[in-house]
Symmetry: C2
Subunit: 213 residues, 2 copies
């Protein structure tokens, strides 16, 4: 079972590494990080680089596709090798998945038309513009498509995928191996736009508007 | 504020990338991944490599030290450059921290003698052998030392550290940016040895014994 994780310049590292850490522990799994070309790919901060061990054309038929998100995703939205690859591999994949704004790439490739999907809370309106049905959930399954909310949601999505692929016992074993019993110091409420302090929600919205304009 | 994240051959990727994703968002933070020598460092699975942008001797005075864990940690426990570097940088660091079995490296460097600390639940007995006082908590603060439990606990530890360094408002803003409102599909109980199914706990213990002997 080959699991391809797509990364690109200015991706968000945890979007890719969260699911990697879960899915690489599936029995028989072979994970490969892939990008337009082989070699180090820098995350959005510039201070982390992850090595893509294979170029896109070296990964023609993965069983599972995981698409990371991040600020650099915008540059991949235009017609080009990333969207072509996504359409090609989706034709034979068993599961096509995304974390954070990775779902915008799936949508831009035309794979989420009329499908329920999610993304980072700050980007959710863009999903509708690309023909998907945006849903505010931690992760959303629609057929073989599994899309996760922002960054850290990739862990939960991947555990759910582990469950589908290998069963609940295996998923629970992976969860215990990763000691994934999260305890954010201020609880979970500050991590969700619906329950966080309004001033903090608005602060992040304003920062995003500033970046986009 | 320089934040040095120590990695080594066969580290656990999420141990390093969880805290990176949180701490790199602190105002004024400069994160640097460091290892014995510059270049790609392979995680335990072999399928992920992260680039160390600086060798240990190029990072002489970080303000914050984060030590990842992972199966390769054993090879760094003997007297050598890693333990020497840890002792040297700890002399001037404001915060010395670890995730998972990274705390065994801090302990082997003599930095946790008589201090409360934690690690991955499967390795907790080793902490006592190295002079620390083992505590079963998600993360443990003892003076400037902050140690996290297994793998995913690094996120919670890093948010707590963000809180100490930059205040609660900043920590909550980072948490919302990462949409860190975790929802493991089967809840948090399967992620903790005290609440997981006994058969799964014993299965992982048996696998570890097999690896160690």
């Amino acid at each position: 079972m080959q699991i391809a994780i797509l990364v690109f310049d200015r991706f968000t590292a945890l979007d890719a590494v969260g699911p990697y850490e879960v899915l690489s522990r599936l029995p028989g799994a072979e994970v490969v990080f892939t990008a337009e070309s082989r070699g180090p790919v820098r995350a959005e901060t510039g201070s982390l680089a992850l090595v893509a061990d294979a170029a896109l054309d070296e990964v023609p038929r993965p069983d599972v596709v995981v698409v990371a998100g991040g600020p650099g995703q915008g540059a991949c939205m235009a017609p080009g090798p990333v969207l072509s690859w996504l359409r090609a591999v989706d034709a034979t994949s068993a599961h096509t998945t995304s974390v954070c704004t990775g779902s915008l790439l799936l949508a831009a490739a035309g794979l989420l038309v009329g499908r329920r999907a999610t993304t980072h809370w700050l980007a959710i309106d863009q999903l509708a513009d690309l023909g998907a049905i945006p849903v505010h959930e931690r992760f959303v399954a629609d057929g073989k498509y599994l899309t996760a909310a922002g960054v850290s949601a990739g862990m939960d999505m991947a555990l759910s995928l582990a469950d589908r692929i290998a069963g609940e016992q295996v998923a629970r074993t992976i969860q215990l191996g990763l000691e994934y019993a999260p305890q954010p110091p201020h609880g979970v409420a500050p991590g969700c736009a619906a329950t966080a302090a309004p001033a903090i929600v608005e602060g992040l919205r304003a920062r995003r508007r500033q970046i986009l304009t």
